[in-house]
């Protein structure tokens, strides 16, 4: 919800909580974030960490997320570890990670057991087929959303890299390590050249 006086709110942001969260608080906060996160945990993480608990300012959160997005692997998992360890060292990282992954993993294991028993039931088969079609649609829409900034910037070379990666992985089904080994340096070289060109 937009604040009635955004300039005043930005000038005097609510003070951060001076008491760093304990291990149980970290676990509980990330468990709650994770279990409310249908279709994207990030929104809930930002809300809980920045607005609800005031453990980080919005800028700190964005910076931390940028780092975690930049590193490989599940971004939000990286975020939980980096966030937890900032307050309580390695134990804090483990607590936040366990909260994020543990409870939904237990739920998913239960679903997997159900699927193993009832996966051949026709009604379930049909329903899951419908969900997979919709899930494919969601992925495709995410691709278009992410692509638009490149299209608007007319970053033709980067778009070519994107298409090449798509062809190599999606159509030719080549192994990911080889594709990255070739595409990453090319993409870095293009980005570097463009940076120098605009600077």
């Amino acid at each position: 919800m937009p604040s009635p006086s955004p300039s005043a709110a930005a000038a005097t942001p609510a003070p951060l909580d001076p008491v760093p969260p304990g291990l149980i608080a970290l676990f509980a906060a990330f468990a709650k974030i994770s279990l409310s996160g249908f279709g994207g945990v990030l929104v809930f993480a930002r809300r809980a960490i920045v607005e609800e608990h005031r453990w980080m300012s919005a800028e700190e959160f964005s910076e931390t997320y940028a780092l975690c997005h930049f590193l490989p692997g599940p971004n939000i998992v990286n975020l939980s570890v980096v966030f937890g360890s900032r307050f309580r060292g390695i134990a804090g990282g483990v607590a936040a990670f366990a909260g994020l992954v543990g409870p939904p993993m237990a739920l998913v294991i239960a679903l997997a057991a159900l699927y193993a028993h009832f996966g051949e039931v026709d009604a379930l088969r049909r329903s899951l087929a419908g969900v997979s079609c919709a899930a494919a649609g969601l992925l495709i829409s995410a691709v278009f959303r992410m692509m638009m900034p490149l299209v608007r910037r007319r970053a033709v070379l980067l778009l070519l890299v994107m298409v090449a990666v798509f062809v190599a992985i999606g159509l030719l089904r080549l192994p990911l390590p080889w594709v990255l080994l070739i595409a990453a340096p090319i993409s870095i070289a293009i980005s570097y050249a463009q940076k120098r060109g605009t600077a």
Binding site: R126, L138, R173
Partner: protein, 177 residues
């Protein structure tokens, strides 16, 4: 003893490596998971893989939990736990080390060049994920139509994705897909 190498070991080593290669997050790693689980090791059928993706999207929690389902299909609960931990821990350790180093040196600015460079890789991988899930899921023109409609609705509106997934479930249950 089995003459074949233990599937649990293959599972853990596979996902531990993938953890460090998953540029753009778990959904961008879906094509490689599919290649390994369906094409290379035949751990799952095409349909089981599409179902696993569907269940992981329907469940709360991070997208990485598709790995839990693949692990369960291979080696039960041990496989589920092993695969999930293997997919998370290497990159988590890397994130921990990098964030420590950054806060110590005080340099929080990221090399913007590399960040820019990773964007097209992530998008290309996500597009491949979309294609692979669509190929596994869309078995007739009704299904393709549903995928296209969901893609357009999700791009054009701010509908919660969960509603679109549930709409897919209802249409499927009704026998329309």
């Amino acid at each position: 003893m089995n003459s074949e190498p233990s599937p649990l070991f293959a599972l853990i080593s596979t996902f531990a490596l993938l953890s460090l290669l998953a540029v753009g997050g778990a959904n961008a790693a879906v094509p490689e998971m599919h290649r390994i689980a369906v094409d290379v090791h035949h751990w799952m059928t095409e349909t089981q893989f599409a179902d696993a993706f569907a269940i992981s999207q329907l469940s709360p929690g991070p997208n990485v939990l598709i790995v839990t389902l693949i692990g369960y299909a291979v080696a039960g609960v041990a496989g589920a736990l092993g695969a999930t931990v293997a997919m998370c821990v290497p990159t988590a350790v890397l994130a921990y080390v990098v964030s420590r180093r950054l806060s110590r040196s005080g340099a929080s600015r990221w090399p913007a060049v590399i960040q820019t460079a990773l964007v097209p890789l992530s998008i290309g991988l996500m597009a491949a994920s979309g294609l692979i899930v669509a190929q596994a899921a869309d078995r007739n023109w009704h299904a393709v139509l549903l995928t296209v409609i969901v893609a357009v609705l999700a791009a054009a509106t701010r509908l919660n994705p969960l509603w679109l997934l549930l709409a897919g479930a209802v249409l499927g249950f009704a026998g329309l897909i």
